[in-house]
Amino acid sequence: MTSTDLEIAQPYTGEKARLSRAYDYLILVLALFLFIGAFHLHVALTVGDWDFWVDWKDRQWWPLVTPLMMITFPAAVQAVLWTHFRLPLGATLCIACLLIGTWIARFFAYHLWNYFPINEVLPATMLPSALVLDAILMLSDSVTVTSIFGGMAFALLFYPSNWPIFAMFHVPVEYGGAQLTVADLFGFEYIRAGTPEYLRLIERGTLRTYGQVATPLSAFCSGLLCTLMYPAWWFIGKAFATTRFVQKI
């Protein structure tokens, strides 16, 4: 695509175009900070420990709760950016902002201020899921289709996308007469006074019955829930995308 292709479609030219571009940048920068702050807070408060610690990233709860809590803001922002601007980047934008915030927090708060090695607090990524979610919305132009297929894909892609990062932390170690993963060993060695081992919500619950296939099952459950979570947050996004309140100020 050349730049002339883009210009053909533009309703504004000259000074108007320049001003509207300045407005674009203003909104983008503000949105960046807003999402970095708000989405990061939302994730830290809901699935914080699963995302913070390498020894919380289990086969059941982590792939169940993380996509469910991380599809929220993307759905809401997609609702605004797609409905009003036909911009298919809401999910990617949100997740990218989240990752910026997460990396800042991991490096400064966890590593520099609280001395944890960064590899113990590596965040998970949802960018592959977000890219697919944006693509599905753009190609289908439908909330229903995106809810069903996008929500499902968002959850199903989560564990496999992160496995290349975290598999090596599941290598077994013989330690203190027991078999541990390297991840478990981080939890034992690097003292966390506030989060004792028994608080870890991992490998517990009815899904245990399914043993080895717990992960796909968990991801599938998460997918089903995401198909419900997605439209719910789509409507939240829609409800907030109004100028009604601004006009009253």
């Binding site: 036909r86 003292i191 028994y198």
Partner: protein, 410 residues
């Protein structure tokens, strides 16, 4: 427009605050945070010792000690079915390399038995230079942290020299300080690059106002070009394909990967160390609030074959000593000791086989400084502790004390 900016700036401030979100529980100790009855009647620590005070990076520090799990466990506190012997420190300035409960290596949580006696050993390795106050303590599920006695340590040296090599079951030596970091960062960088490319693909065009206007004019088809569609289709097919391919390759690379381990350690209590040959029954306990003095009238039966003298009463890490009885405390830097804190109505030893009613008084401002005097205002105003008795050879007997407590306000 100005209003929109104002609104955004407000949200921006909020967002900035959110960024300050830091992990919890790093610096605070919380020694006195729990109600006195929980500190007195759950984990009763004694004989806690430290192998050294001054260390260099990579040096080992061994903390040993014993504790009795009170049989008079408070009703309002969940039973110790999931507990974790921890060390309070400002983050991982030390790493914990070994931990033993009753001589048994333990890396997970464990259940404790009421009335059980345990000893522990924690081996730490200095990681970062500094001056730190460490305590052994128990995280009790749904109850909180019951602190053991604390101590100051000084770590010197160069943090860069710290090493933590671990051998995996495959036989590889790994460096815990950097293991998996480069790989993790590379994967994040890869996806962030791809995500940024997608964002830039759109952001480089005129965005909000023109697109909104064209949508209003019904010209939305021009907003998504055929090339956009092609790229989206490519992404829709390519990303999952790549993700599952990378997953399969990772599986092949780490065929022995196991799930996170979530087992509990099974630890049996030691043969009774408390309430052995000495039996104690409290008849009345009074706490004189202004005098900061506890008086216990108790019937003590000595079933040992030696005369015994009462040497110490300990509760919530505060130790009231009967001067002259028991081992010398000279040079002990424990700040929670009241060296003259205990007095008795009779200094005569309790003879073998004798049952005697004794009046024990434990007086010190530590009651107030450690906020134990709040006990009388608790919903469960019972007291617990350990009474230490010694024979002439220094042999020690321990009896547990548990009693309702009556305040006197004079």
């Amino acid at each position: 427009m100005l209003k929109t900016i104002k609104k955004f700036l407000g949200l921006l401030g909020l967002g900035a605050c959110c960024l300050m979100l830091a992990p919890s529980g790093a610096a605070a100790h919380g020694e006195k945070a729990l109600e006195p009855f929980i500190r007195m009647r759950t984990i009763q620590w004694y004989d806690v010792q430290w192998s050294r005070e001054k260390l260099n990076v990579n040096d080992e520090l061994v903390i040993t000690g014993k504790f009795h799990v009170a049989e008079d466990w408070p009703r309002g506190v969940p039973k110790p079915d999931a507990t974790y012997l921890n060390v309070s420190s400002p983050g991982p300035v030390f790493i914990r390399t070994e931990r033993y409960l009753n001589g048994q290596s333990s890396v997970s949580s464990a259940a404790l038995k009421l009335g059980g006696d345990y000893d522990f050993k924690i081996v730490l390795k200095a990681r970062l230079p500094g001056r730190y106050h460490l305590h052994p303590f128990f995280n009790l599920h749904d109850a909180g942290a019951v602190m053991g006695p604390g101590h100051w340590f000084e770590v010197a040296g160069d943090p860069a020299t710290f090493t933590n090599q671990v051998k995996t079951l495959n036989g590889d030596m790994i460096d815990m300080e950097s293991y998996g970091l480069a790989n993790g960062v590379a994967w994040h960088a890869f996806w962030i690059a791809l995500g940024s490319a997608w964002l830039l693909w759109w952001v480089r065009r005129p965005l909000f106002l023109p697109r909104y206007k064209m949508l209003q004019l019904g010209q939305e088809n021009a907003l998504i070009t055929p090339l956009d569609r092609k790229i989206a289709v490519l992404m829709l097919a390519g990303v999952p394909l790549f993700v599952f391919g990378a997953q399969a390759m990772t599986d092949r690379q780490y065929p022995n990967a196991i799930p996170l381990q979530a087992g509990m350690d099974q630890i049996e209590p030691l043969p009774a160390a408390v309430n052995g040959l000495v039996k104690l029954k409290v008849q009345r306990a009074e706490f004189n609030v202004p005098a900061r003095s506890l008086t216990i009238v108790a019937q003590i039966h000595n079933a040992s074959d030696q005369p015994l003298q009462i040497g110490e009463f300990a509760t919530a890490n505060v130790r009231f000593l009967n001067p002259g009885v028991g081992p010398s405390r000279e040079g002990d830097k424990d700040t929670l000791i009241a060296p003259q804190g205990m007095s008795l109505d009779s200094a005569d030893p309790i003879q073998p086989g004798e049952t005697r009613t004794v009046r024990i008084t434990a007086t010190d401002s530590l009651w107030q400084r450690e906020r134990l005097d709040g006990l009388i205002r608790d919903a469960d105003s019972r007291l617990g502790g350990l009474l230490f008795l010694y024979d002439a050879n220094g042999q020690r007997h321990i009896a547990s004390v548990s009693t309702a407590i009556i305040p006197t306000f004079n």
